[in-house]
């Protein structure tokens, strides 16, 4: 397939009768029909286009890995807005800001529109034919061992195609890289519960104790958890759920907690064991081994090590014991240390002794078709790819959905190592930092133009296979769907096997129809089934249900004290924000202008520092401070923030791009660059919170661009945002 010669218009006509149509024609975008360009007036618009009337089509959000189902509002052939698909068990009609900004990914003015070939420092526009030829030529004679394919989390039929393609190249080097992933937790969960990612029932818990899990912001499946949270707050029988958040830097979830406990960075595990100990003292029966293990963690010691007062510790144990079931969550803040796995084990142990396993933590159903189940990313993949590149093992590198040049710590030298590979192909939407290092940049369709299937890692109920379908005609003639590109590439090697598939759409359709009986009655007509599927935008299957195998940790080794360094006295917490995550969305202006919920800063990075520490260092808000680690420095404006441990500073991730277009380039700084290379002892994941820094004033000062006014967060006695103690309020009577 060279050109995208699948006739969308005819296809749409078919769909139009099916009741749910994908309407794709529009002003500004001429339709390609039988090779002729026809200007179609709305006076004689196609049946599925009603001028002035919006039509809604279901698809899947591709902004993060949570796999929310979306409904695109389409008018006159243009997608206007993404709304939530109410049928999805993941997001139930709701959306986050990040998801809604998907249209700005699609309409982004800085998208790559033509295949680009590196010519010295410049990119030269070439045709797709030439690009395919070039790939074939460069792959020719290269052993499969020397071909690496680096992707972000990938699932569904794209994953199948990719693995088949790698097979056809005799390569096993598909690396799935996510700069921010709960990889440590997966390993810990596997040990504690027997599954990597169980289902969490926040809504069934009476108390949620979260160790840095920002489940309302950026953790795993935030829209889903937010809905659970709403139910949890309403509570059953008027018993409102209580949220206690333990972390060193306040996250959005921490800001919503009933009690936010600041801990010394890295001591989350100690606190967890301390709570177990306190629970035992409060009368909860602990298994003997556990009791013995937590014995040394008496409240004084724990309080001293973590900084949490003994009073709070006792109260916490009391409420956990009293209100059951509870749920203990663990997030990146607890994972990001050399002893992150130990922290995780300790926290999971707390869940186990509280008897939450099986109540608020359940096994997720496993995907009935393992080949489409998501390949989960982690940061260990980066390390592997980088090592291979450094050693010259990688001759040809493909990248898709990742931006390692941006997200790799500077110390890894990733960009330089990448240059050692003979031929680098970036499948990209924008010229991001990685694409700029590539030899060949292949422009992809946006998520709103492409076909696909997705299966999210976190499955709240059964298994949801989400369909991604085009919501409108392609904006740019020379972009291609990733699936189509892979299919074309694979046909070069396995022409016979894939001859039946004209394009990726045909492939997906065939694949799903083949498994029709899994989803529907056997008797259903193929067309009807297919149209229903597209109309729904998703299909739920029961999956195989599992039971959790709870295993108590036998040994948890927590360091006596977390390392400090006289030269670098502070700990850097690279914070993950709900809208910018690892930086791949930084070019979506809605997100840039969406104030950070806690600091309300827009369009820029900042260094969060506790006022006490700031006073010590003579820093005031707006001072440009230099944050120096062993591996480099970044300079950003200081923001005085009480929600951070005084021994830590925090810089949000996601900004600081040198590329990626007008909305991303030049705004803020990139803390990924200065991270120390410290790894989790067990999983080899990059320990994100192990970077030690020092900060100094540069003497420059700016006015921080933020929504917060001169009063800061102070209401000055006015009744504006009010709170009430839970014993003062009668929730059961509420509508």
């Amino acid at each position: 397939m060279i050109d995208n010669n699948f006739d969308r218009r005819d296809f749409l006509k078919v769909l139009g009768w099916g009741g749910a149509a994908v309407a794709l024609t529009g002003c500004g975008n001429t339709s390609v029909q039988d090779g002729k360009e026809t200007v179609v007036s709305y006076v004689e618009a196609a049946a599925y286009v009603a001028p002035g009337i919006s039509t809604y089509f279901n698809s899947t959000c591709a902004q993060c890995e949570a796999g929310c189902s979306v409904t695109g509002r389409v008018r006159e052939g243009r997608v206007l807005k993404l709304e939530g698909n109410a049928d999805s068990v993941i997001n139930r009609g709701k959306m986050c800001g990040l998801g809604q900004a998907g249209v700005q990914h699609h309409y982004n003015p800085d998208r790559v529109r033509e295949p680009l070939l590196r010519n010295g420092d410049k990119g030269e526009t070439i045709t797709w034919e030439k690009a395919y030829e070039l790939i074939a030529q460069k792959l020719n004679g290269v052993s499969g061992d020397n071909i690496d394919f680096m992707t972000g989390t990938i699932s569904g039929h794209l994953k199948v195609l990719l693995s088949n393609y790698m097979d056809s190249l005799a390569s096993k080097n598909h690396f799935v890289y996510e700069a921010i992933s709960p990889a440590v937790q997966r390993a810990a969960n596997l040990k504690s519960y027997g599954v990597e990612m169980p289902r969490f029932h926040i809504n069934k818990a009476k108390v949620v104790l979260s160790f840095g899990a920002d489940f309302l912001g950026a953790w795993v499946s935030p829209v889903h958890f937010s809905q659970q949270y709403a139910q949890f707050r309403k509570g059953s029988d008027g018993q409102r759920g209580v949220l206690v958040q333990v972390e060193s830097k306040m996250t959005l979830t921490g800001a919503n907690a009933d009690r936010w406990l600041v801990v010394k960075p890295g001591t989350e595990g100690v606190l967890a064991l301390g709570v177990i100990n306190a629970l035992g003292l409060a009368g909860l029966s602990l298994p003997a081994a556990v009791a013995a293990m937590v014995k040394p963690y008496d409240k004084e010691r724990v309080s001293q090590e973590t900084g949490v007062s003994t009073d709070h510790l006792v109260k916490l144990a009391a409420i956990l014991k009293e209100r059951s079931p509870s749920l203990v969550l663990l997030g990146s803040a607890a994972e990001g240390y050399a002893h992150g796995s130990q922290n995780a084990a300790a926290i999971n142990l707390l869940n186990q002794v509280l008897g939450n396993v099986g109540k608020t933590i359940e096994a997720a159903a496993s995907v009935p078709f393992p080949q489409v189940a998501p390949s989960l990313g982690n940061s260990a993949a980066l390390r592997m790819v980088n090592n291979r590149l450094a050693d010259g093992q990688t001759k040809v590198l493909f990248t898709y959905g990742v931006n390692p040049v941006f997200t790799a710590p500077k110390e890894t030298n990733f960009a330089a190592n990448m240059a050692k590979a003979g031929f680098k192909v970036a499948f990209a939407h924008y010229l991001d930092e990685t694409a700029l290092q590539a030899d060949l940049v292949l422009p992809l369709d946006s998520a709103l133009e492409d076909w696909g299937t997705h299966i999210a890692e976190y499955q709240p109920d059964g298994v949801q296979i989400s369909i991604q379908q085009p919501l409108m005609e392609k904006l740019h003639a020379n972009t291609r769907g990733m699936g189509d590109v892979l299919l074309t590439l694979i046909k070069k090697n396995r022409a016979a096997e894939y001859a039946a598939f004209e394009d990726y759409y045909a492939y997906v359709r065939t694949a799903l129809l083949q498994n029709k009986r899994q989803f529907a009655d056997v008797g259903v007509d193929d067309e009807v089934f297919w149209n229903d599927l597209l109309s729904a935008g998703l299909v739920n299957v029961a999956g195989t249900s599992n039971k959790l195998v709870a295993k108590l940790a036998s040994e948890i080794k927590l360091p006596a004290a977390v390392d400090t360094d006289a030269k670098f006295p502070l700990r850097l917490i690279p914070s993950v924000t709900a809208s910018l995550r690892d930086g791949r969305h930084a070019n979506q202006p809605w997100l840039q202008e969406s104030p950070d919920p806690l600091t309300t800063i827009v369009w820029d990075s900042w260094v969060e520092i506790h006022p006490k520490k700031a006073a010590e260092l003579g820093i005031v808000e707006g001072d440009i401070v230099e944050v120096e680690s062993k591996n480099g420095t970044v300079k950003a404006q200081a923001y005085l923030f009480n929600g951070i441990h005084p021994d830590a500073v925090s810089i949000p991730l996601g900004r600081g791009h040198d590329a990626m277009g007008r909305y991303a380039k030049g705004f803020g700084v990139n803390p990924f660059a200065i991270l120390d290379r410290v790894f989790d002892d067990e999983t080899g994941e990059l320990a994100m919170h192990e970077t030690l820094v020092k900060i100094s004033k540069t003497g420059k000062r700016v006015i921080v661009v933020k929504d917060e006014g001169a009063a800061g967060g102070n209401q000055h006695g006015k009744k504006i945002a009010v709170n009430i103690a839970s014993d003062q309020v009668e929730l059961s009577g509420e509508a």
């Binding site: 006015i703 917060e708 006014g709 001169a710 009063a711 102070n714 209401q715 000055h716 006695g717 006015k718 504006i720």
Partner: protein, 457 residues
């Protein structure tokens, strides 16, 4: 010390005043050029703002009003002394007003015209300004008569047109003098046309007297209403620091105050520029200065009353605004206002300064600076520190566009005033004659009675 030399020949009065209409000196052109240069700055800024949008003025949310409105009030205030004082003093038969009321009334007119410009400059959609006028139209659309801004527009229109008429009517006999003394030319035609064929007949004078009196009677409540309506723009709103009952009288006092200060400034300038020493005498200046001092004290009192009522009112938001004025980012300006408005005028209480021209010039300029600061301190701090803490903005600072337009407005005023003084007699000739006439008669009477008394003795 006499207000005026009673023996002055009437022909000399004519001659002296008409001299001010003669070919201007070089300095006059210099002043005009400077004024035009200043206007060009304002025009440039306005063109830029018109094209780019109001954002270039650095106004923002919550600072939706800024120097434009503050300076608008300043000019409106400035307008007050002219007409209001002229009318009040006329009713009170204070004849020392006669040599100085003409330019004061001109000042009224021109500062109103300047103020009007600020309303325009301030509008986000200047090109649609006529939406705020009550004109009949097909769509049956009317402005919102509930809005104090509309009252403002109405009051200013009434005041401006009445002031112009008052100025004009009062000038008719003088225009006839000009007509009678001018050589042929456009000016003669102009005066002939404007003097409406005035010949000073008894019928004309009789009706003139009544008319002038009537309009003066109207002008006093009108002038009071104008500035109290400007005060209503603020007092009728709900904002802390604005919603103050004492605002209307406070504004009126402030207006009189700044007007008087401006009269002193212009008095001194005209006295020297046109050599009007014989008419604009130090004695009259002294009276004006004393009046100014009295008004300054009234203003100070009303200011204090406002603070006190806020303070004792226990309305926390209003109190916060007051505290903010005194201690926040606007503190230097606010204290500057107190200094210029309440401390500096104390100087005027000393006799030796009441006729000291250099001191008075500096003082009057300081008073006006103080009054301008007052207006700014009414407008800006409430925006920076309103009801809603989240939107408090203590960092906003007017951009050069705002400053440029404010700066240029002084040029505009100067231009209008200078042109007026060259085209129209800035001292009322016929009234100076009246003053001389009545005074000398009174003196004679006094002398006569004195003689009698002496004789009786």
């Amino acid at each position: 010390m006499k207000d005026i030399n009673e023996d002055i020949a009437w022909a000399k009065i004519n001659k002296d005043v008409l001299k001010s209409l003669e070919s201007p000196r070089k300095l006059y052109w210099v002043i005009l050029a400077v004024a035009i240069a200043m206007i060009s700055v304002a025009v440039g800024c306005e063109v830029y703002q018109y094209n780019m949008g109001m954002g270039v003025s650095n106004l923002n949310n919550p600072h939706v009003w800024g120097l434009y409105i503050a300076t608008f009030i300043f000019w409106i205030g400035m307008s007050h002394s002219g007409t209001l004082l002229s009318a009040i003093l006329h009713l009170m038969h204070a004849d020392w007003r006669k040599p100085i009321y003409r330019f004061a009334e001109a000042m009224t007119t021109f500062s109103l015209m300047t103020a009007g410009l600020f309303v325009m400059v301030h509008l986000g959609r200047l090109w649609q300004f006529y939406y705020s006028l009550p004109y009949p139209n097909d769509r049956g659309l009317w402005p919102n008569f509930q809005s104090p801004l509309l009252w403002d527009a109405m009051a200013i229109f009434t005041y401006l047109s009445s002031s112009i008429l008052f100025l004009f009517v009062g000038m008719i006999p003088d225009l006839a003098i000009c007509r009678d003394n001018m050589h042929d030319g456009w000016r003669k035609k102009l005066y002939t046309w404007l003097s409406l064929g005035w010949e000073g007949t008894d019928r004309q004078w009789r009706n003139f007297r009544i008319t002038y009196l009537t309009i003066a009677c109207f002008l006093i409540p009108l002038a009071v209403s104008v500035h109290s309506i400007v005060a209503s723009d603020f007092a009728m709103s709900q904002q802390p620091g604005w919603h103050v009952t004492s605002f209307p009288p406070y504004f009126v006092a402030g207006a009189l105050y700044s007007g008087c200060a401006a009269i002193i400034t212009l008095f001194i300038i005209l006295r020297y520029t046109f050599k009007f020493e014989e008419y604009m005498t130090l004695s009259i200046l002294k009276k004006t200065v004393r009046l100014t001092f009295a008004i300054a004290m009234i203003w100070t009192y009303l200011n204090a009353i406002e603070f006190a009522s806020v303070w004792y009112g226990h309305d926390q938001p209003s109190k916060d605004v007051l505290i903010q004025k005194a201690t926040g980012p606007y503190a230097p300006f606010w204290w500057g206002m107190i200094f210029c408005g309440s401390i500096v005028p104390l100087m005027l209480a000393f006799k030796r300064f009441q006729t000291n021209i250099p001191v008075l010039l500096v003082t009057s300029l300081l008073l006006n600076l103080g009054m301008w600061l007052e207006r700014w301190m009414i407008v800006a701090p409430t925006f920076s520190h309103g009801y809603y803490p989240w939107t408090w903005d203590h960092n906003q600072w007017p951009s050069w566009v705002q400053w440029g337009i404010v700066f240029g407005s002084f040029g505009w005023f100067t231009l209008l005033f200078m042109v007026f003084c060259k085209v129209f007699p800035s001292v009322s000739m016929y009234e100076v004659k009246e003053m001389v006439y009545h005074r000398s008669r009174a003196t004679k009477k006094l002398e006569a009675s004195g003689m009698q008394a002496k004789g009786a003795h």
